[in-house]
């Protein structure tokens, strides 16, 4: 693990500072992912960005970008709960698209259903204007890697 990432993880656990971790993940920066709200559970935001469009006619966010946003959100969420562990490795990812993702801010929050010694199961929902009307729902398994 790089020194930058180590410092970022320490800041995350001590101060809920997701920014440093996100800054240390180039792909998260590419999509523009940020922490939106700490509330009862962290909510992430991916602000509207023309570079994330997949369907230029609607226009709609690329389905793969929505997948990448949910997967990255789940990994960030898991990092919160873990001690001295490197970035979790994705094992599999299953994504259901419910509505077109319009060119708007998109939000995501996660639920860790099970976290064992080696594997975690995480459910992730994405929405735009109304959390009760999700645009996508996903679940992922991650391998929890010991440093």
């Amino acid at each position: 693990m790089t020194a930058e990432m180590k410092a970022a993880l320490a800041a995350l656990r001590e101060k809920n500072d997701y920014d440093a971790v996100i800054q240390a993940i180039p792909y998260a920066r590419l999509l523009g992912i940020q922490l939106h709200d700490m509330g009862l559970q962290p909510t992430f935001i991916m602000p509207a960005n023309k570079d994330n469009i997949g369907n230029p006619m609607l226009p709609a966010i690329h389905g793969g970008v929505i997948g990448g946003f949910l997967e990255t959100s789940a990994a960030l969420h898991l990092l919160m709960n873990m001690e001295s562990i490197a970035l979790p490795k994705i094992i599999d990812f299953s994504l259901d698209y419910l509505r077109a993702g319009r060119l708007q801010d998109t939000f995501a929050s996660c639920q860790v259903w099970r976290q064992g010694n080696r594997v975690a199961n995480v459910a992730i929902n994405a929405w735009q204007t109304d959390p009760a009307q999700p645009i996508a729902t996903a679940r992922a398994h991650f391998l929890l890697v010991q440093e």
């Binding site: 990432m5 590419l30 997949g54 006619m57 990448g68 599999d92 994504l95 698209y97």
Partner: protein
């Protein structure tokens, strides 16, 4: 359609489809080959899509985008009338981390077309020996709309 289009025609058609997708341009994704059986897209390695800065391995999300696009392009190519089919769902199994620096190829094909749903599959491979990095299953809805308006 009386005559099946050639691989050259299908490759050009797939390239036109992918080249107008803004996020695919950001990632530098390109159609390498398409015929009546499958499509092959390439995703060059770049620092922007790294998911783990400590080892340079690219993010799973970039592979999800590669495979959503590859399967979507395979679906686009089985119809000859520009029918649009949105992705219903998609699953990716990550066999191994992609090697940093390697260009990845996303291969996709359509298993079955029904009146309402198109069933597609694919895989992400790297290197001359086509090492499998991930496999993918994606289903698409037929909503009866076409590029340029409802038909």
């Amino acid at each position: 359609m009386s005559q099946q289009p050639t691989a050259e025609e299908l490759t050009a058609r797939a390239s036109r489809f992918v080249s107008v997708l803004p996020h695919c341009r950001v990632l530098g994704m390109q159609v390498e080959y398409a015929d009546g059986e499958k499509v092959i897209l390439s995703l060059p390695y770049s620092e922007a899509i790294i998911g783990n800065a400590s080892n340079g391995v690219i993010a799973g999300g970039a592979l999800t985008t590669l495979m959503d696009t590859a399967c979507g392009t395979a679906v686009f190519n089985v119809f000859h009338d520009n029918e649009i089919c949105p992705t219903l769902d998609l699953r990716i199994d990550y066999f191994k981390a992609a090697t940093p620096g390697e260009t990845l190829r996303g291969e996709a094909w359509v298993d079955r077309v029904t009146n309402n749903v198109v069933f597609a599959k694919g895989q992400v491979v790297e290197g001359p020996e086509n090492r499998i990095i991930a496999t993918c299953t994606a289903n698409f809805m037929r909503i009866g709309q076409h590029i340029g308006g409802k038909k």
